[in-house]
């Protein structure tokens, strides 16, 4: 029994180490290179800054921006990376000094990291609605620092908090229209990462978009996990299994709002198409996934629902640098291109006119997209 305990401990220790390394290798290109080039990165950023100040008329204000990602951090090819893109752009173009951190594996130190960033920054971001309560506390404790939260609505938020909200349902509506118009089987699918309010907005918009084109189209809907289990955002294997069953059940266009699990959908679309000789489509989410997914699967990505977290982060930093920061709710919807769809790959060029029609109707208020399924 004692031997067993010993063996068990060794296995546990290895599991811990493997988990740590696993986290690294997942986002190989990002975390490790970021780590490897950490010192170089900062110097590169510094030279970029100086270069920028030399060439263009960048505002000379020295703005420190601290950004706290949620669990997973940079390299999730989805939500966090979109925020990172906004920060990188601001670093290159505005000459701000960035600092990044990500919540620990159980997310229990969000408030600590916000406070830590607030000590050294003029503007602090929390990426994701889970930063709500921690940010309320941190922003109240540091009234001289400005804060920005992506996806978060904080009741009774102080004036130094900008709440950056997105009309995911509007973007999802448009890709729903695209799915309906491109589906030959009259059968489409939706895969959600975790069954919670935020992702239900994607589902609601998609369903409304599909049915706006044709009420008779069948829609399969499935979530990978239920809260409190958040694995659904990073479980490509399950994403693939669900996508396979949808394709085999007759769906020929499947939209995902499942973060990293979406890669499983892309794989399934490719494999099903290869095996059956009929092309089925996947629809990406958050960023233009034709550009971020692998070369072997990108030709199966019909379009992507764009959620411009990068724009919201960049704009807020710019306001801060210009001394124009304003707190409160900021909605990024179709009217400001805060959400939208991608055309890379050219697969939906023939229906862009229709999509733009629908877009105009939504912007004008003629069509109101529901945000709950």
């Amino acid at each position: 029994m004692r031997k067993q305990l010993w063996l068990f401990s060794v296995v546990l220790a290895f599991a811990l180490i493997a988990a740590a390394c696993g986290g690294d290798s997942d986002d190989d290109t990002t975390t490790t290179t970021a780590a490897a080039g950490d010192s170089t990165e900062t110097t590169a950023a510094a030279t970029e800054t100086t270069a920028a100040t030399e060439t263009t008329a960048v505002p000379a204000v020295d703005t420190n921006v601290g950004l706290v990602y949620d669990i997973g951090g940079r390299g999730d090819q989805s939500f966090n990376d979109s925020a990172a893109a906004g920060l990188d752009k601001a670093t290159a173009e505005l000459g701000i000094t960035p600092s990044e951190a990500s919540a620990n594996n159980d997310g229990s130190n969000r408030e600590e990291l916000l406070n830590l960033q607030a000590d050294e920054s003029d503007l602090v971001f929390g990426i994701g609605f889970l930063f709500g309560d921690p940010m309320l506390a941190a922003a109240t404790a540091s009234p001289d620092v400005n804060f920005g939260i992506v996806d978060g609505f904080i009741e009774g938020a102080p004036e130094n908090v900008a709440m950056l909200l997105f009309a995911e349902e509007q973007g999802s509506f448009l890709v729903g229209v695209a799915a309906a118009m491109k589906s030959e089987a009259g059968h489409v699918g939706f895969i959600g990462g975790v069954n919670m309010e935020l992702i239900q907005k994607f589902e609601a918009g998609f369903v409304a978009g599909v049915h706006a084109v044709d009420d008779a189209i069948v829609i399969d809907r499935q979530y990978i996990t239920e809260p409190p289990d958040f694995d659904g955002f990073n479980d490509p294997a399950s994403g693939k299994v669900i996508a396979q069953s949808m394709f085999e059940g007759g769906a020929d266009v499947v939209y995902h709002a499942a973060g990293g699990s979406g890669n499983g959908l892309f794989q399934a679309a490719k494999e099903y198409s290869d095996a059956n000789g009929t092309k089925v489509w996947a629809i990406g989410v958050d960023s233009d996934q034709y550009l971020t997914a692998g070369d072997d699967v990108k030709d199966y990505i019909l379009t992507s629902m764009l959620k411009r977290v990068d724009v919201s982060v960049y704009n807020t930093i710019k306001e801060q640098a210009d001394g124009m920061f304003a707190g409160g709710v900021k909605i990024f919807d179709l009217s400001v291109d805060g959400v939208g769809y991608s055309v890379t790959g050219g697969f939906i060029d023939d229906i862009v006119a229709d999509l733009d029609d629908w877009k105009a109707k939504i912007v004008s208020g003629e069509v109101v997209v529901p945000s709950t399924p």
């Binding site: 401990s9 220790a13 390394c21 010192s39 951190a101 229990s108 009741e155 309010e197 239920e226």
Partner: protein, 377 residues
């Protein structure tokens, strides 16, 4: 005595040393400067606020470690702490939000509910082992999945209070059910604490630690537990019912596990929501191993793990290193500790065995002598 102290201290010190060494190599490979990383971590980690954060982190880790250790003492791998505490927390949070009682009573009811739920869920695994001989590792893993992905998911969906934010959260516990912060007490000795609060539940955790130590070392039940764990047949022969002991260990461990989520719930969140910290049940296994199932050892283990976790936030913010380095350090500490313990333990056992052999030989010789005497008369 000096030798005994050496046995106790050698292993953890070696473990931390080895961990520092290996982490330095990893940091160097990552292109970071280990010295500046450690220096930043030390400076940040010794701030009063960080130490308070560390204690807040260590409190649930400690409770989880004790819950695991109760099973370990009986040679039971109760790895179901995870499911037990998450289930206990959500039910306790719901009960706490629905009732309205005077302050101390309110908190007491929440604590008791959490302990009952934890004990019940853990008791299921004990029951399966006693009646059907199902190994507790299998049953507790299954029960974890059922609790977290099944029951808690379902309860979240039916108990969610709809509001404007995207968060899924239960109703808030009224203020009479909160655990007051200990900042006022700490500030008697220190400067004012900024922004963080020392959760009052640390007192409950300390009481649990004392109770655990007394129970295991000073009571009949504790003796029977340890005896069954170290040598089940011998314990049974001396009149200890192993089934009763298994149930006792599982129920007690589960009751303590039920407390793991409460420091956060009563001290900070005051509601069960999607932010509720999970994974503490598994972290507790590491802490119990590091602390060698000893009440004080587990406290040290919990503090070390808590400190590493909290002080490491500065690494990324200052651009020293990715925070994953901390997970590597924690893993290496356990690995090194386990190996160091095994080496020290073998040495101690050899010494003990030699002593026991000598003692046995003496007893045998005496018996032989007595027998001969009896035969003669």
């Amino acid at each position: 005595m000096g030798k005994k102290l050496f046995y106790v201290l050698a292993a953890p010190l070696v473990a931390v040393g080895v961990a520092l060494f290996i982490s330095s190599i990893v940091l160097l490979f990552a292109g970071a400067n280990p010295l500046s990383a450690y220096q930043n971590m030390w400076e940040f980690g010794t701030r009063l606020e960080t130490l308070i954060e560390t204690l807040n982190r260590a409190t649930p880790l400690y409770l989880s470690g004790i819950a695991v250790a109760i099973g370990f003492r009986m040679n039971l791998f109760n790895i179901g702490i995870e499911g037990q505490y998450v289930l206990a927390a959500i039910i306790a949070a719901k009960v706490g939000a629905e009732i309205n009682l005077p302050p101390i009573l309110h908190v007491t009811v929440i604590i008791v509910v959490a302990m009952i739920v934890g004990a019940f869920w853990s008791g299921l695994a004990g029951f399966l082992k006693v009646t059907r001989n199902v190994h507790e590792v299998i049953s507790t893993i299954m029960l974890n999945a059922i609790a977290v992905s099944g029951i808690v998911s379902y309860l979240l969906s039916i108990w969610d209070v709809p509001d404007a934010s995207l968060d899924t959260a239960l109703k808030e516990i009224p203020e009479s059910g909160w655990m007051p912060s200990l900042n006022g007490f700490v500030e008697i000795f220190t400067r004012d604490i900024k922004r963080v609060e020392l959760w009052g539940f640390i007192l409950v955790a300390a009481a649990v630690g004392v109770a655990y130590h007394v129970l295991i070392n000073r009571t009949r039940v504790g003796y029977d537990l340890r005896a069954s764990g170290e040598n089940a047949p011998a314990a049974e022969a001396s009149g200890t019912d192993p089934k009763k002991m298994i149930m006792a260990a599982m129920l007690l461990g589960g009751a303590v596990a039920g407390l793991v989520g409460l420091p956060e719930l009563l001290g900070d969140a005051h509601e069960y929501n999607l932010r509720f910290t999970r994974g503490l049940g598994f972290a507790g296994i590491a802490v119990a191993l590091l602390g060698r199932n000893h009440a004080v050892g587990i406290a040290i283990g919990a503090f070390v793990f808590g400190w590493l976790d909290r002080a490491s936030g500065v690494l990324e913010v200052r651009g020293d290193a990715p925070r994953e380095i901390v997970a590597i350090m924690q893993g290496v500490i356990i690995l090194a500790a386990v190996i160091a313990y095994a080496v020290v333990e073998r040495k101690r056992r050899e010494d003990e065995a030699a002593a026991a052999a000598a003692a046995t030989a003496q007893v045998l010789a005496e018996r032989q002598a007595a027998k001969e005497q009896g035969g003669a008369s």
